[in-house]
């Protein structure tokens, strides 16, 4: 909102080029308005400052791996989180539903970005409100960018997992890594002239000592080898259990014993 107003003021001072920027800004706002109606059936998200912040590079150097950090001000009120990449072919990158063992203060993800776009993060509160924030980032080509390995090779190691515990004071935080090429159906095999069929991680479940930390529904905007950073209410012992499933119904499960002092 603030950016919109800022551009509008500038447009009065300068003329042509900024007027175009304003149009772009207006087009982006319109895009979000339409998207939000498709994503959220009932009440629409309200843009309110102070609830959630999106941290991401303003200009990403690798559009196929754009790190995004979502930080929530009051983690007690958060039921779920959406991350939307407005201009991507399938914009909802992730929906994260938190459970009783979650500490939803900070979530990190790595996404693909197809063109210059707004990112929207939407908090669903425990009492059913939707609160959004936006951030514009410059990155392009991340969806069609080919992976570094040939498709068959990349699928061989799919499902391999790693969990990194970070020793931040005051909160148990971990980053989950899952090997998976996350083919989004947009990479062409030049030899066959066919697109490599979409096959990507569609859900991730993490539980701590039997209690849900989060359930994540993912889509093709997630980078290859998905990496999810999350907080959880740890008493320093026990196990984090991870279950992941891809669109070909392959499932992987792994238990990670808690390591209180980092990796």
């Amino acid at each position: 909102m603030r950016t919109l107003a800022f551009v509008a003021v500038l447009a009065c001072i300068l003329t042509a080029p900024v007027a175009r920027a304003e149009e772009d800004e207006a087009a982006r706002a319109k895009r979000w308005h339409e998207l939000a109606h498709l994503i959220f059936n009932g009440p629409q998200p309200v843009n309110l400052p102070g609830w959630i912040t999106i941290d991401a590079p303003t200009r990403a150097l690798d559009a196929a791996l754009v790190p995004v950090t979502l930080t929530v001000a009051d983690n007690r009120q958060v039921k779920s989180l959406y991350l939307v990449v407005d201009e991507n072919p399938s914009p909802v990158a992730a929906h994260i539903l938190f459970g009783p063992a979650a500490d939803p203060h900070t979530i990190t993800m790595r996404i693909r970005v197809d063109q210059y776009t707004d990112l929207h993060a939407v908090v669903e509160t425990q009492d059913g409100r939707l609160i959004s924030t936006a951030r514009f980032i410059k990155a392009a080509g991340g969806c069609s960018a080919p992976g570094s390995e040939a498709p068959e090779l990349a699928l061989k190691s799919a499902g391999k997992m790693k969990l990194r515990f970070s020793n931040q004071p005051g909160a148990a935080h971990a980053e989950l890594l899952i090997k998976h090429p996350n083919f989004n159906g947009m990479q062409m095999d030049q030899a066959t002239r066919f697109y490599t069929p979409a096959r990507y991680i569609k859900s991730i479940d993490v539980a701590y000592n039997g209690q849900r930390v989060f359930h994540l529904d993912a889509d093709i905007s997630m980078a290859s080898d998905p990496a999810i950073g999350f907080g959880f209410k740890s008493d320093g012992t026990g196990t984090l259990a991870v279950q992941a499933e891809d669109t070909a119904h392959a499932t992987w499960h792994q238990d990670f014993p808690i390591q209180p002092h980092g990796t």
Binding site: S148, A150, K162, M188, Q190, D225, G262
Partner: protein
């Protein structure tokens, strides 16, 4: 031949070509060792003005055949190289080595289709080009202008491990390397002059770009040094250098990248925070540092977080 080339050049709009790429203003080749001719690539990113002529490319003349390595960064770059070869020798162009997947080295290959040479590449190049070729081509066309990138030319002869070629009283050995700079690196050693052409396994002055394996690249340098080359022709930088010195400079950058990335991962720093600082101490040593270094740090982080 020359008139046909002129026609082609006109087709590409002669007025837009920088003068040194015009058919009547041949590009400058240096004979770095007897029979080995190299054109120095400019230390820039690809642009319409430089036609992606940014890599060191050239040719080796044997007793009865010519080997091209690399064919250049665009169709125009390849055509200029071919014109220079035809001006230097009438021997047939029998081999075109595609040293690795990157567009600045191989998109000139289309200029040599007419010679029906053996296009030689790493055993993995075919798959790699299948996956990435169209993406690189469209990206390069966006930069240079429609159609100017050139066609995607697949290798016809793979280098599985090593491949010996005889250019006529001149033996060269091609080696397919494990993932290093890319996953498709091939180096060439000319036995006659003791010259090593490691292509982009060796960067000088221009910031190295990592697109294969950091640990793998560091491991390849001693293997290349063991060949005890009299000189080396880096993929970027001066046309000829002393290998041990140049490899030491490259090794310093790569080991700093590795050590700082490992330390950041150990310290639990996330990829965004970590890659903003990794390798920055090396900034003064390399051209075109900023963007490439950050991309390298991202690549390094992705690789080393699985160690």
């Amino acid at each position: 031949m020359l008139s046909r080339r002129r026609t082609l050049a006109v087709g590409l709009c002669l007025c837009c070509l920088p003068s040194r790429l015009r058919a009547d203003a041949p590009i400058v080749f240096q004979e770095v060792a007897p029979g080995i001719h190299i054109r120095r690539g400019v230390d820039q990113n690809a642009s319409p003005a430089n036609h992606d002529a940014i890599a060191n490319i050239g040719f080796i003349v044997g007793g009865d055949a010519v080997l091209v390595t690399d064919p250049g960064g665009s169709l125009a770059d390849g055509q200029a190289l071919r014109a220079a070869i035809r001006a230097a020798t009438a021997k047939p162009i029998r081999y075109v080595l595609l040293s690795h997947i990157h567009p600045d080295h191989i998109f000139g290959a289309g200029a040599f289709l007419v010679d029906q040479p053996n296009f030689i590449g790493h055993r993995g190049l075919r798959d790699s080009l299948a996956a990435r070729g169209a993406f690189y081509q469209s990206h390069l066309n966006e930069i240079l202008g429609p159609g100017r990138a050139g066609p995607i030319v697949q290798p016809t002869v793979p280098v599985n491990d090593t491949l010996e070629l005889d250019l006529g009283h001149r033996r060269v050995t091609l080696r397919a390397h494990a993932p290093a700079h890319t996953s498709t690196d091939v180096s060439l050693f000319d036995h006659t002059t003791g010259t090593l052409l490691p292509a982009d396994l060796l960067f000088v002055r221009r910031i190295p770009s990592l697109d294969g394996s950091l640990n793998g690249w560091i491991a390849q340098l001693p293997a290349l040094a063991a060949l005890r080359p009299a000189r080396a022709v880096p993929g970027h930088g001066p046309v000829t250098v002393d290998f041990p010195q140049a490899a030491a400079d490259l090794n310093r950058y790569l080991t700093v990248l590795r050590d700082e990335t490992r330390a950041a991962i150990q310290a639990g720093r996330d990829i965004q925070t970590a890659t903003a600082t990794i390798g920055r101490s090396q900034r003064g040593n390399w051209l075109l540092f900023d963007d490439t270094n950050t991309r390298n740090a991202i690549e390094a982080y992705k690789e080393l977080e699985w160690e």
